[in-house]
Amino acid sequence: MSRRLWLLALLLVAIHLAAVLAGFVSPYDPTAQDREHPYAPPVHLHWRDAGGLHLRPFVFAQTSTDLYSYADDRSAIYPLRFLVHGSPYSVLGVIHSNLHFAGVDDPATLHLLGTDGFGRDVLARLLYGGQISLLAGLLATAISLLAGALVGGLSGFYGGWADESLMGCSELFLALPWLYLLFAVRAFLPLHLGPGQAFLLLIAIIGMIGWARPARLVRGLVLSGKTRNYVLAARGFGASDTYLLRRHILPETAGLLLTQSALLIPQYIAAEASLSFFGLGVSEPTPSWGNMLSVLQQYNVLVSYWWLLAPAVALLVTSVTYGLIASALQQRLESATA
């Protein structure tokens, strides 16, 4: 059970690490258009040819036979080369480099997950898009849990009119049809908002709207927590409100917040994806899983270019991993309190 949790956590770390190191892992720049190779299918790695087995995998160059159809040019092989210099990138804005994990010589290409309609590398876009989508999930969750813990804590601890007004407010937020709200918000945004700013604003909005549910859960815990004997005893010894909240009551909610975060993160990743899907999130050419998926709205793309479904797979894997972690945490929490 604990081992499973570790494995899941490891997988999650791997996913996030791949996103962070996107520049190094992917051989290409996510926005570079290769106009000679639109909708190129994934390149196959080969180990053997007529000459026998090769130690180092190689690829064939893809030549365009007709528009959007490609054939391998088997006249020459292009072995994979490791640690090559290519397009510049930065990791977390700190490390600047142009060193990539792998690459091949021109005219061959290393589009391991194919290209999109502009000839952009899908793998690079998937990894860079992961930065946006995963970060959106984490940041928005942090915001909503922080707000939720604060509001729920205050409301549960002090009760009375503060409790009633805050919880009334949370009910209102839960009842809001927030997808429409976001559509409205985007229409009001000025045109000059860069993709980065629009992204941060959207995260703030997703996070702010999501505080209501955790707030109600935290309030419930605080409400029961503040009547425990040791809390009453501490109060009897003259402990202040802040001391009680900090020392005894809020730590009670830590397990809940952890489970909630495992639940909320994939939810918010999906929220970012759906907003981008509708064109409300980050705009071109910056990739995110959502705006990568939005081309699949077109029937011909959906039936012709299966490799563009890659972000859906990534989204699924990430969400399921988070979901499993959430349930494992939940079980742990229950067995600990039981």
Binding site: T31, R35, L67, Y68, F118, P195, S283, E284, P285, N300
Partner: protein, 584 residues
């Protein structure tokens, strides 16, 4: 199949036939028109998909394309533009004479023609119809066409079969304005008009018996949310070359399907017989999957897609940031540089899947009669773009970012409509092209209406990718765009007088071509206008898609045309091979 079954089948067919009115035998003295082309066979129903339901069947008030697609099949005009030849041909007017000064048109009407309810047609119906189109209270969208230089044309009945139209000033190719102006039955609509209820008449719910027209089809039934069924007009005034009265089809059915993708799916499933216009991606898909269908690529369409910069007068609008950028946009060298930086070949490949053409001017190569063949077609050149920018006083930082004279970074946003996938794709390509000369471009895709509001009303945008044209091959419908006072003079709306010298010259040329009756002289004037437009780049022209259409193999006489309505223009001659049953 047993004998009894066969009998049943025959009976069933017989009832089907009874449901569709048989074409009336030709009457003595009836002046029919003969439609050229191979003859077909009677029977069957043809199903066409539409994006949405028509709003109305009233030709006076319905402005949307979907409604027009339906009511145009139920009505006829006096003089028609043959979509295939792009030239005018006699319709309800069997002939016409133009006075030497080009102001008076005398039209002879066909005798013995009847409306789809059997009522005879004559000059009174023509005078009545034009009274409706010109009535300011009805505010018909066609009224604009009939008002030339601020004065409406005058209509007079000379005798039962002769009508005279008088224009306030000469107007080149004036006979083209009659195209699409439906002649309406006075006997059905006059009382509604007198009661002031004309705008509310002929809705989708009007009983079919109260609607009549001169087109090849008449209304049979309307099933809300599903379909509109038109049946043969048994009195239609056209015959084929073997003197059989048209149309061939028993029924023409319009179903509302929704998006183009949904239409493709229904076409694949066989529910729809014809696709009016298909995007390049879907056309490629059909080429792969439906080899049996008739897939027709007609070559470059007449419309043009372009990038336009906001050069509107922004004083008093609190749009200072945009006003500052207008210093760049108003410099012709800046616009020329942008044009030089655009990779039009890549655009045609990636946006139109090679089913399209690059554009350097407002007239598409598909418009063979009017395109200026001498227009230069420079290829993408980063060097030329940078040279032009240098001349205009721009500089680059060490990182390659463009700076203006005041060291401000050159950055602007391009507005596109989120509903137009091709234009959004063009924006993404432009973003990269302009990035290569150091210009940072943000693409903002908005809902179509929100975008139009910014372009036409609030002027709160920097640049936009839009599309125009495609209505007719003639230059006159383009007047709205190129006259400085025009309602779609997009880059600078509401100019009191031309803001620049070249706009003044463009005004003169466009006005002059409008009153020049000789084609050769008119072409020269329009060529000059095209040169100015290409040189001074009010629009950075990008490209035009090909007109791509598809129909099932059984559809006979399928001859789509470059002009709207691409496939249905010869609906009266369409037929189903192998008899009607194949189409069901």
């Amino acid at each position: 199949m047993g004998v009894r079954k066969q009998l049943l089948w025959l009976l069933l067919c017989a009832t089907c036939w009874a449901a569709a009115p048989a074409p009336q035998p030709l009457q003595a003295g009836e002046e029919t028109a003969i439609a050229a082309g191979p003859t077909g066979t009677y029977g069957g129903r043809l199903v066409v998909g539409q994006r949405s339901e028509p709003k109305s069947l009233n030709p006076i008030t319905a402005a949307d394309l979907v409604s027009r697609e339906v009511y145009a099949r139920m009505n006829a005009d006096l003089i028609h533009i043959n979509r295939s030849t792009q030239q005018t041909e006699p319709a309800l007017a069997k002939s016409w004479k133009v006075s030497p000064d080009g102001r008076v048109y005398t039209l002879k009407l066909r005798r013995g023609v009847r409306f789809s309810d059997g009522h005879p047609f004559d000059a009174d119906d023509v005078v009545f119809s034009f009274q409706l189109y010109l009535d300011e209270k009805l505010n018909s969208p066609q009224r604009d066409l009939l008002v030339i230089n601020g004065k409406p044309l005058a209509v007079a009945k000379l005798d039962q079969y002769t009508v005279r139209f008088t224009l306030a000033s000469p107007y080149a190719a004036a006979e083209r304005i009659f195209d699409g102006l439906a002649i309406l039955p006075r006997h059905l609509l006059e009382s509604a008009y007198k009661e002031g209820k004309l705008a509310q008449s002929w809705t989708l719910n009007t009983p079919p018996a109260q609607i009549a027209g001169l087109g090849p089809f008449r209304l049979k039934e309307y099933v809300p949310g599903q379909r509109i069924v038109l049946e043969r007009n048994p009195y239609y005034w056209k015959t084929d070359t073997a003197h059989h009265r048209l149309p061939y089809l028993d029924e023409l059915v319009f179903t509302s399907v929704g998006t183009e993708d949904a239409q493709i799916l229904r076409f694949q499933a066989g529910d729809i017989d014809m696709l009016n216009r298909v995007s390049a991606e879907n056309f490629l898909l059909l080429e792969k999957q439906r080899r049996d269908a008739q897939l027709v690529d007609l070559g470059p369409a007449l419309e043009y897609n372009f990038l336009v910069f906001n050069l509107n007068d922004l004083s008093g609008r609190k749009l200072d940031a945009i006003a500052r950028k207008q210093a760049w946009f108003s410099d012709v060298r800046f616009r020329q540089a942008i044009s030089a930086a655009v990779d039009r070949d890549g655009l045609v490949r990636l946006v139109f899947g090679n089913h399209g053409a690059p554009l350097w001017g407002n007239v598409s190569p598909g418009n063979k009669l009017w395109v200026d063949q001498s227009l230069a077609h420079p290829r993408q050149s980063r060097d030329r773009a940078m040279q032009l920018l240098k001349e205009a006083g721009f500089t680059w930082t060490v990182e390659g970012e463009l700076r203006d004279r005041n060291r401000n970074p050159v950055e602007f946003s391009i507005l596109t409509s989120s509903s137009s996938a091709p234009r959004t794709r063009m924006a993404t390509l432009l973003q990269e092209d302009l990035g290569r000369i150091g210009i940072k471009v943000n693409v903002v895709s908005l809902d179509f209406r929100a975008m139009l509001d910014r372009v036409f009303n609030s002027f709160d945008y920097e640049a936009a990718i839009m599309g125009l044209g495609g209505g007719d091959a003639d230059p006159n419908p383009e007047m709205n765009v190129w006259l400085s006072s025009g309602s779609t003079h997009l880059w600078h709306l509401g100019e009191k007088q031309p803001a620049t010298g070249w706009e003044a010259q463009l005004d003169r040329l466009m006005q002059q071509q409008m009153v020049t009756l000789n084609y050769g002289r008119r072409k020269k004037l329009y060529d000059q206008a095209q040169q100015i437009i290409a040189e001074d780049v009010p629009f950075v022209f990008l490209g035009t898609p090909n007109v791509l259409t598809a129909a099932k193999a059984q559809v006979g006489n399928f001859h789509p045309a470059l002009l709207d309505p691409y496939t249905l223009w010869n609906a009266d001659q369409l037929y189903l091979r192998g008899g009607g049953a194949a189409g069901k």
